[in-house]
Amino acid sequence: MAIIYFSVPERKAFLENQIQWWTEMWEVVTGRDQGSGVGEQEKDTEKVMSKQ
């Protein structure tokens, strides 16, 4: 059952995504933050025209 489970086509992409997540976590924990798409979202989010 394990062989069947781990040999599905999407498993490789799944594991790559997880490795990327943990790589980013390692960078954050060790302080080697390279930034990510979150920075892009921040710029969009903070384009707020407040008249107050």
């Binding site: 059952m1 394990a2 069947i4 489970y5 599905v8 086509p9 999407e10 992409a13 799944f14 594991l15 995504n17 997880q18 997540w21 943990w22 980013e24 976590m25 960078e27 954050v28 933050d33 930034g35 990510s36 979150v38 979202q41 921040e42 969009d44 989010t45 384009k47 707020v48 025209m49 407040s50 008249k51 107050q52």
Partner: protein
């Protein structure tokens, strides 16, 4: 003060019921008393909120706190009544015994865990996971689709009105907000109303996950599984990815699954527990009554949580009636005076009074309301039987279309495809995966083994459980959707415990494989909605700025990016009792409230300026939220230009972006006062 009141009311609530059930320790085991106290506590919360909200239209923090403190104090007095035989000495003995029991159970548990290396690994993995989940839920606001779409807006509407009632059908989602049963949303409300903050509302389901572990353990013990295997199995149930991810969201699927497991736990195997040997007939009956009542309360909460609730209630009712009939029939063989009619009457009486009454009390309100208002208890779903429409509705099936791949698969292959998890990541509502590798690799084979073994060896207790869980799974619509059938993983965990208990030599191999898969699940159950960089960013932000717009989770970002600006403005500026009048249908209503849901929202769309202003006055609007360049935007600009003609309403624009504008609405009388003041 808010935190203190929250702690006090919850402590009193659950400890009073725990002590109440402690008096019944001869007939209810310790794990069942933990689960029972949880269910009784939830029942009290839901009943008090229903009474205050639906009947008295006074569902606010102070009345809710007062009523619950009163009830819990009363329960405490009943439990520790010094006027009972033995007086105060007996009362203090009870408290001492309860504390001793707790200490004893904790020590026993610790010894079992310590002496089993694999078990201790799994246990610590669960503890670390729970700590991580609490941290993430505390750090991030509620961000999931259905939570923002209708689960939290249900709470918002109830909190702003102090009443449980239907709202105007101004938008597509409002009809669902009106129709859906809301028991779990009442629990969300409980976790917001005292704290005046939504900071822990997304931890509501985590409590269910933990009680689910205890329930699986209790069922395993009832099956005669050795304690350490029962513990192992119950802890493995935790490692269901979709349950882990949903435990920090405001969905209801984990709660539904666990409530079903709890109900089954109370209904089955009441004769088998070792503490119940040599019991009298009276104590057997007492135990049965308590079990059915607690099962009834759990089923009632379940029924009032989702529209599929009646399906669960029907299955459990059938189980109880069959059990009762068999029980009474066995008794009637020994008592010559009992006839068939007497057997049936006794069975029905037990079922109705002990089970059905709590079900109706806790879950019936939502369906009765729908029946009265819409002539259909499950409106807008249409119910037909053999081609005959019994209840007319708008939809014949689940509205959301299935993934395209499902149309190419058969009834049998659909769940198999989903269990193989052809996905690139887990999500809180994954449709093509989510039950995890432990389910597919370990639990499925052990289910097969355990069912066959039980059939051959005539282990009827396990066969009955199999019939309940597998039967419910087969009857459930869209049973291939993982989040709808999380309960089947609980059955898988039981089967695992059963198989390991039965196997002689290979149990450590299986346990080691299970541990490795648990570690794997722990490592890979990371939602792409919460990235390490977002965690880092949010840890650096002050709590007030940890908002949905700043989170910008990937599951909603593309759909609502243009709304972040006014969401941020609302979270920074809208105070208690401020009212935002909006004039369009946003995708999500939840961000229109402030974080404590202490503000109000009102939909106001009119054909003329005067009607609109009149509506703003009637609703005590503080702010208006409009689309830029809309009719209302033109009216606001018009009102500026008409101010020299003496138009008294003023709209001061406080926020504007290319898509949305927020203006502060100053009513005529305020404008006059300000004008006089300025003249003075």
């Amino acid at each position: 003060m808010n935190i203190l009141s929250y702690i006090i009311v919850n402590l009193l609530l659950f400890s009073s019921w725990q002590l109440f059930l402690f008096r019944k320790r001869a007939v209810i085991s310790f794990p069942d008393r933990i689960i029972g106290a949880f269910i009784l506590g939830l029942s009290q919360i839901i009943v008090t909120e229903l009474l205050l909200g639906a009947l008295f239209r006074n569902l606010f923090a102070v009345p809710l706190f007062s009523v619950n403190i009163l009830i819990s104090s009363w329960v405490l007095i009943l439990s520790l009544a010094p006027f009972r035989k033995g007086g105060i000495k007996s009362t203090s003995n009870d408290i001492t015994l309860a504390l001793k029991e707790l200490k004893g159970v904790t020590m026993d548990f610790w010894i079992v865990v310590k002496n089993d290396f694999l078990l201790s690994c799994v246990f610590f993995l669960v503890v670390i996971s729970i700590c991580w989940m609490i941290f993430i839920a505390y750090l991030f606001p509620s961000y999931t689709w259905d939570a923002l779409w209708y689960h939290l807006p249900m709470v918002g509407y109830i909190m702003q009105d102090g009443a449980i009632r239907d709202i105007a059908n101004d938008s597509f989602i409002n009809q669902w907000i009106n129709m859906f049963p809301k028991n779990i949303e009442l629990l969300f409300l409980w976790n917001i109303i005292f704290l005046e903050s939504d900071i822990i509302v997304d931890l509501t389901q985590l409590a269910f996950t933990i009680v689910g572990i205890v329930s699986v353990y209790s069922m395993a013990m009832k099956l005669g599984i050795q304690r350490n295997y029962a513990l192992y199995a119950s802890l493995l149930f935790f490692f269901t990815p979709i349950a882990i991810l949903q435990s920090t969201t405001n969905y209801v699927d984990v709660a539904i699954a666990v409530l079903f497991i709890i109900s089954v736990n109370f209904i089955i195997g009441h004769r088998r527990e070792p503490t119940y040997e040599n019991r009298t007939e009276a104590s057997c009956k007492e135990q049965r009554v308590y079990s059915l009542c607690l099962a009834g309360l759990a089923t009632g909460i379940l029924m009032g949580s989702k529209s599929s609730g009646p399906l669960f209630a029907g299955i459990l009712s059938a189980l109880i009636i069959i059990q009762e009939l068999m029980e009474q029939r066995a008794v009637s063989f020994n008592a010559a005076t009992m006839n068939k009619y007497s057997v049936l009457t006794k069975s029905l009486k037990m079922y109705i009074l002990s089970f059905l009454l709590p079900v109706v009390l806790l879950g019936g309100y939502w369906y009765m309301k729908n029946w009265i208002v819409n002539n259909n208890p499950v409106y807008p779903m249409q119910i037909s039987l053999f081609g005959t429409t019994i209840f007319k509705g708008l939809y014949k099936g689940i509205v959301e279309p299935p993934p395209e791949i499902m149309n190419r698969l058969s009834y049998i292959t659909r769940p198999l495809y989903v269990w193989l998890e052809n996905i690139q990541y887990y999500l809180y509502d994954s449709r093509l995966g989510g039950l995890g590798p432990i389910w597919f690799i370990i639990f499925l084979p052990t289910i097969l083994f355990s069912v066959l073994y039980s059939a051959v060896k005539k282990k009827y207790d396990f066969l009955v459980l199999s019939a309940i869980f597998i039967g419910t799974f087969l009857l459930y619509p869209r049973n291939w959707t993982p989040r709808y059938v999380i309960f089947i993983v609980g059955f898988g965990a039981l089967s695992f415990g059963f198989a390991v208990n039965t196997f002689g030599d290979r149990k450590n191999v299986i346990k080691t494989l299970a541990l490795l898969l648990a570690v794997y699940t722990f490592l890979v159950t990371n939602s792409p909605c919460i990235t390490p960089y977002q965690i880092e960013k949010f840890m650096q932000l002050p709590p007030a700025e940890r908002t949905l717009a700043r989170h910008a989770p990937f599951n909603i970002d593309l759909h609502v990016r243009q709304e972040y600006g006014y969401w941020i403005w609302i979270s920074n500026h809208v105070s208690k009792r401020d009212t935002i009048a909006y004039t369009f249908e946003p995708l999500f209503f939840s961000p229109l409230w402030n974080s404590s849901f202490s503000s109000r929202i009102a939909y106001l769309k009119e054909k003329s300026y005067n009607d609109w202003v009149e509506g703003l006055r009637k609703n005590n609007a503080t702010y208006v939220l409009i689309r830029t360049n809309s009719q209302e935007d033109k009216w606001i600009k018009f009102s500026h230009s008409m101010s020299w003609l003496g138009s008294k309403e003023r709209f001061n624009v406080v926020y504007a972006d290319p898509n949305y504008t927020i203006a502060k609405f100053e009513r005529a009388e305020n404008s006059i006062q300000k004008g006089d003041g300025e003249k003075g």
